[in-house]
Symmetry: C2
């Protein structure tokens, strides 16, 4: 069985970083967006905020989460380079908090301006459309993960997806990448307890599928992981 992904996945030229820069420049030059930096673990936009503000991630990791009354939280999205946050009115994030995980560079501006940018027929608008479509697809996948897949399968599926996203963004290989999430965060994203996630990670490590260590994910047997999780990346990169 294959230990590494087919070479065309990693060797083909990756245009996304270039397109991202172009889209960012467009937003700044024509739509009143500004480039901005947030240090790690800072709150960027709290729940109940009324302003409709949009963000395009240039680099780093962010997170969108919902805090529940009992102190639990559910991480809804983990946006990285090329992802959009908060398009279309403030309402979409009325219950969610947007914070940085690592140092974060974004272009941000009024949501209405993003809509205007989306309307124009251009490669950059296409790029932004794809970001929105990808986001919706990932939310569907996450729901299937949490609702219907057991802990090991769910975790594997999520980390496979993350790998493809990072590779597309040009910041890692899909079978081996850096990941700043603590087990606690990952558990909150997957709807598991940190303790149970920890046991699950030991299991996948011992069965030789992948390793998750502070700061790094590597798939020992990528083909086995894909088969196990029934993963099909077409919704991200297709």
């Amino acid at each position: 069985m294959g230990v590494h992904p087919p070479s065309e996945w990693t060797t083909k030229a990756n245009r996304q970083p270039y397109e991202l820069q172009k889209a960012g420049r467009l937003l700044v030059e024509r739509y009143g967006f500004v480039s901005r930096y947030y240090p790690a673990e800072k709150l960027i936009r709290d729940r109940d905020e009324r302003e409709a503000r949009s963000y395009l991630i240039e680099s780093g990791w962010g997170m969108l989460y919902q805090s529940l009354p009992d102190g639990d939280r559910q991480i809804v999205e983990l946006p990285i380079a090329g992802d959009l946050v908060g398009h279309f009115t403030d309402r979409s994030l009325r219950q969610e908090t947007f914070a940085s995980v690592t140092d974060l560079r974004v272009w941000e501006g009024p949501a209405t301006q993003l809509s205007a940018a989306l309307a124009h027929n251009s490669p950059s608008a296409d790029f932004l459309h794809r970001a929105i479509a990808r986001q919706r697809a990932m939310l569907g996948e996450r729901m299937a993960d949490i609702g219907r897949r057991g802990a090991a399968l769910r975790t594997t599926h999520f980390l496979l997806e993350l790998g493809v996203r990072l590779e597309c963004a040009g910041v890692g290989k899909r079978h081996d990448y850096n990941c700043p999430l603590t087990q606690n965060m990952l558990a909150d994203a997957l709807g598991l307890t940190a303790i149970h996630l920890n046991r699950t990670l030991r299991e996948t490590r011992e069965t030789g599928i992948f390793q998750f260590r502070r700061g790094h994910v590597s798939f020992m047997d990528y083909a086995a992981a894909i088969a196990f999780a029934g993963f099909d990346p077409s919704y991200i990169a297709g």
Copy 2:
């Protein structure tokens, strides 16, 4: 404790049905959409479809679900009147199937045309923007439901949300409405087994919170339900 919601919730004039018709007409007259009817329980758009097609629901219930290899499925969305399906490229639904639950009336057309419609500054474009924002917010809520709320709380929260959506759409009262979902479907939407959902429903019925009978949902004590679920409808109707 209050048995009915405050009267302003049900008596204030509801503009959504009117706005919906106006938006539908706009899509038909200016953006090449067509009005279309699908009978109940018909597949509308299968997974892996490459065409980027958008739908605005005029009336009836639809569902978007993901089928998993082991035969399980996760219902991701249950669009009703005023909701949008499949905006922005085919990719967002690459893994999901769109089917009707009840008889369904939609306006449908190419996704690119929907983007064009969204761009124009008009009440109808606003209406569509709100639909997209609401959708994203609901996906976040559903994730919190499935990932972090126990069965009873999750079910209550979901049915409260559904009530508000239906009331906004002008097809029911938020504390008492018709619901065509079988327990099987509801379970698939909530990430539960039908059997466990059934027990959960008995529990909420016996504790006097709400009743779910084939075809109908009614909250016996709406205030208690809201308090129990920690429900805040601002993300839908805010």
